[in-house]
């Protein structure tokens, strides 16, 4: 065999991986090895992997109910864990951030390959424009990440208490109703906040969304921590760009509408203002009680005016950063160019199904002769083969003008209208030519009990069943009901965005006749338009197997009785919730288990229903103070320095040991000096000022000795050129980092440590 079978992805991809991203992935791989050896504490590793997008999955505690009893899944790795109650070998989910859904054909090809080689050949699009791969082993994730990095995708901060994927209207730039193209702004804020010091110490996740207009639903800014709607204003005769800037929105169990912080935030203030919001959230947001830790709770506690005052006060103290405005000099960085000339739709007749598909799935662009084509994905899923096929179709018709959507579909932009019939034929050939995008049959669903640890009921199987029954009953084609939106969530956490649907469902469980029965709480009257402008309210819980009957009953009545222009929420208001409830009530009564046991299982799962498989969610991540993250990074660097020295790389070993000391010093000092940069002189100077001159760092017995190690290394590390000198520096770095740990322990909460007994684990 002529091939070098031992070659790794790291070697193969080489310089195609951006250096900084490659280094991050190498570090993660080292952390995996250290965790396997028990040298990283499990909560710290959990947050570390979550920040790389590697998430837990159902049954990862090693327990699975088979319908009669709970069986133990005996993984070969035994008791090694990758987080609290999360076994090492248990398959997990890998979330892959796609900022504002924008992606290229080459990226789609790589995602398809990854789904095939590390997952189950399914690419799943989420409601926040990410991709998720399921049943992925943690050991495979570094190579998976390298292959993504080589095509410009990072999974950094896809989960955990971080800035999650920045979402945005997928039509932006070609949309009829936008004020301007927000894509370059979403791009800039994505990479400005990624890994930023001020976004590393949150008590909970932080979501940012962009929309080009206020009226449509594509950006869903109303339920984001930061929501930005494009606005223009004429100032001194010149049109100026800015944003309606909202804060504190969110769904979850306690949905909150975002509140207007600024009705016109100038474009040059977008990044610093968001940095200031991040700082206030990091400083004052709840850390111990994760159920109250999102930004919406902080704003509720402080009041919007006080929150705004604090943010503006923080804004005034920020050290100026050239990145705040540098991106404004090139707002074309996200532009797309069509690869086919504009044209008119050829005269028919067209292929069977084309006209129906075009009516629901093609949207006219602002640019004459071009349309956007929505690729409807059932439950947000496509196969690896379809992914590759779609990439080829994009190359043929549109180039790299692909977006994921918050309705779990894909969007091809810049389709010449003259090509539309051929595009349809190509999509049909790979089974992606289904019509009905954004209609009642295009149901959004979170993973639910299929893979999520928090799932209570099977949102995906319900959505599949609803879609089938609505089609069979003809409701999906009824012009009066066709425009309704249905969304399903497996639990109250709202990942399926059920609050903003006309008919929303969230999984709950009920005791009936002494047995657990899967149910869904029916939520009606949500508003999908106006960026998800209003939230529906629960009417009552319905057994899972009766939900299709409920939907057919309600939609049929709406279709028959709706008044001209009346939306579903208005219809509900007009006929009254009591009427709705009465229509549902008789369907809430179940036969006994003996009469019909099918009601006691969920859709798509023949096992008798139980909630025993629910685990502890990782959505909230592990609250690990930023100091601890930094100190852990220092220890990892010392380990790497040792490896480098063993390999005879003296210079690299010295550099890494010195870097470890700087990282530890910076971790402590940043708590006293929030604007601290990573420049070594500044780190050492500020450390001296805050910790050495004050003697805070002094060891009770050794005094300032360990701090002196840092000062000496800072001055002299370039001179360490022998094995002995490198060895000594590594020893001193080890002692310095240990002293930093001791200092952190002594100073406790003044450096962001959790109060004793507050608990940082799952609650």
């Amino acid at each position: 065999m002529s091939k070098d079978a031992a070659k790794t992805w790291k070697e193969t991809l080489g310089p195609a991986i951006p250096e900084a991203w490659g280094r991050e992935i190498d570090i993660f791989e080292t952390q995996i090895e250290l965790r396997k050896k028990g040298k990283i504490e499990e909560k710290l590793f959990a947050e570390t992997r979550l920040r790389r997008g590697a998430y837990g999955q159902r049954y990862d505690n090693g327990q699975r109910h088979d319908g009669e009893t709970t069986q133990t899944l005996r993984y070969p790795s035994g008791e090694i864990t990758k987080g609290p109650v999360t076994l090492w070998d248990a398959p997990g989910m890998q979330r892959i951030k796609i900022p504002f859904g924008r992606m290229t054909a080459d990226q789609l090809d790589v995602l398809a390959a990854l789904a095939e080689e590390y997952s189950d050949r399914i690419l799943h699009v989420t409601t926040r424009q990410d991709f998720q791969l399921h049943f992925v082993h943690i050991d495979d994730t570094p190579d998976l990440m390298r292959r993504l990095a080589a095509v410009g995708i990072t999974t950094r901060e896809a989960c955990g208490n971080t800035v999650r994927n920045v979402t945005g209207c997928p039509q932006i730039g070609v949309c009829q109703t936008e004020a301007f193209d927000t894509a370059p702004y979403a791009h800039a804020i994505t990479f400005f906040l990624l890994g930023h010091d001020d976004t590393q110490n949150f008590g909970r996740k932080f979501k940012v969304a962009f929309s080009g207009c206020a009226d449509n639903p594509c950006g869903l800014t109303n339920f984001h921590d930061v929501g930005c709607i494009a606005r223009t204003r004429v100032v001194d005769g010149k049109e100026k760009r800015g944003f309606e800037y909202y804060v504190g929105g969110g769904l979850g169990s306690v949905p909150q509408n975002a509140q207007l912080l600024d009705d016109f935030l100038p474009e040059e203030e977008l990044l610093p203002m968001t940095q200031a919001v991040s700082r206030v959230f990091a400083r004052l947001g709840e850390k111990a009680n994760r159920a109250k830790a999102r930004l919406k709770f902080l704003i509720k506690k402080l009041g919007l005016e006080e929150f705004k005052r604090l943010v503006l006060e923080e804004r005034a103290t920020l050290r100026p950063d050239p990145r705040w405005t540098a991106f404004l000099s090139d707002l074309h960085v996200t532009d797309e160019k069509p690869i086919r000339p504009a044209g008119a739709l050829p005269p028919g007749p067209h292929a069977a199904g084309f006209d129906t598909w075009r009516a629901s799935n093609a949207i006219a662009q602002r640019q004459p002769g071009y349309v956007m084509a929505t690729v409807t994905l059932p439950l947000g899923d496509m196969t690896s083969d379809q992914g590759r096929g779609l990439a080829d179709i994009a190359r043929r018709f549109t180039g790299d003008a692909i977006r994921t959507t918050v309705e779990q579909n894909m969007l091809l932009r810049w389709v010449s209208e003259a090509d539309l019939p051929a595009l349809y034929d190509a999509l049909v050939a790979i089974d992606l030519g289904s019509p009905g995008a954004s209609t009642i049959g295009d149901i959004v669903a979170c993973p639910g009990t299929d893979t999520c640890k928090l799932g209570i009921s099977s949102s995906r199987s319900l959505a599949a069943e609803l879609s089938r029954q609505l089609k069979d009953s003809g409701i999906a084609d009824d012009p009066n009901a066709r425009g309704l939106h249905i969304k399903t969530s497996g639990c109250f956490n709202s990942c399926g965005q059920h609050h903003v649907a006309d008919l929303g469902f969230l999984g709950v469980s009920r005791n009936v006749n002494g047995r657990r029965v899967p149910h869904f709480q029916l939520v009606v009257g949500g508003q999908w338009t106006k960026n998800g402008g209003a939230y529906g309210l629960a009417i009552g819980a319905v057994p899972s197997k009766r939900v299709p009957d409920v939907v057919k009953r309600l939609t049929a009545r709406y279709a028959a009785e709706k008044q001209p222009g009346e939306g579903f929420a208005a219809f509900v208001t007009r006929i009254g919730k009591k009427t709705i409830r009465a229509m549902v009530e008789e369907l809430q009564i179940l036969p006994s288990y003996e009469q019909d046991p099918s009601y006691y299982s969920d859709w798509g799962d023949p096992r008798e229903y139980t909630i025993d498989d629910m685990g502890v969610g990782e959505c909230a991540g592990e609250v690990v103070p930023i100091v601890e993250m930094g100190l852990a990074a220092s220890e990892r660097e010392i380990f790497e320095a040792q490896v480098l020295l063993d390999d005879g790389k003296i210079k690299d070993a010295v550099s890494r040991a010195y870097s470890a000391m700087l990282e530890a010093a910076r971790s402590l000092t940043r708590e006293k000096s929030p604007n601290l940069s990573a420049a070594p002189d500044e780190v050492v100077g500020e450390f001296r000022k805050h910790f050495y001159d004050t003697q805070l760092f002094f060891d009770p017995y050794a005094g300032g000795k360990f701090a002196q190690y840092l000062f000496r290394a800072h001055e002299e590390h370039d001179n360490a050129s022998t094995v002995e000198a490198a060895h000594q520096l590594i020893e001193e770095a080890t002692l310095f980092v240990d002293a930093a740990h001791q200092c952190y322990t002594r100073l406790g909460s003044s450096l962001g440590a959790p109060a004793l007994g507050a608990g940082v684990g799952p609650s």
């Binding site: 193969t12 319908g67 899944l73 095939e116 080689e117 189950d120 059932p378 083969d385 023949p606």
Partner: protein, 202 residues
């Protein structure tokens, strides 16, 4: 060349008429009764995706799919980790595939539900789920073919026609035309019957 992540697909003798969803209950039963000598974890239903992985039985070392990936219904076995020693991998993959096929052929509930299956032995697909170790090119084919030739001759009792298939972007794929009308039980017996406990669990 000794690739670890082998995949074997056996086709059913019925092109249509069986919904993959019929196998959801079967696979849940396999987990419950521990019918396979390896750790099986969960069942994933992708029947809503045309020409997709159908219904997946997810394990630690191996997955099994009632697969429609190439538009044809079949049983797809996929080794993920913990492969046996070089020299035994192809035999182990076939043995696990044939064993799972034999369980499906003998499943009384499937038969009662009108979904009785029989697997063809005259045509088999083999893939390597690892683009780094085994890109779909002539060099990989040349490296693998001698071992495959020998193994197939022994298993099927006659030389087989082995051809490379699929695009360069696809997984390394070969079609094995055996020209032999045998049956699953006979072939499984030639490989020693039910597989031993998965090495990855030892």
């Amino acid at each position: 060349m000794q690739p670890q992540k082998l995949q074997i697909k056996l086709y059913t003798d019925r092109a249509t008429g069986i919904s993959p969803e019929a196998f959801v209950v079967v696979f849940h039963g396999w987990i419950k009764k521990k019918l396979l000598p390896e750790l099986m974890i969960d069942v994933a239903n992708y029947a809503h995706v045309p020409k997709g992985p159908g219904v997946a039985l997810i394990g630690h070392g191996n997955d099994y799919f009632i697969d429609e990936g190439d538009g044809r219904l079949g049983l797809l076995y996929s080794r993920k980790r913990g492969a046996p020693d070089a020299g035994q991998r192809i035999a182990d993959a076939f043995r696990r595939t044939l064993y799972a096929a034999s369980l499906l052929e003998g499943d009384a509930a499937l038969a009662a539900g009108g979904a009785k299956v029989r697997f063809r032995t005259d045509e088999v697909q083999l893939r390597v789920n690892d683009r780094l170790a085994a890109p779909n090119d002539d060099a990989t084919f040349a490296a693998l073919k001698p071992e495959l030739d020998g193994f197939c001759r022994e298993l099927f009792g006659a030389p087989c026609d082995i051809t490379r298939a699929g695009a360069a972007t696809s997984l390394f794929t070969v079609k094995i035309a055996t020209g032999v009308k045998s049956d699953v039980a006979t072939l499984l017996a030639r490989l020693g019957g039910a597989p031993l406990a998965d090495r990855s669990l030892v």
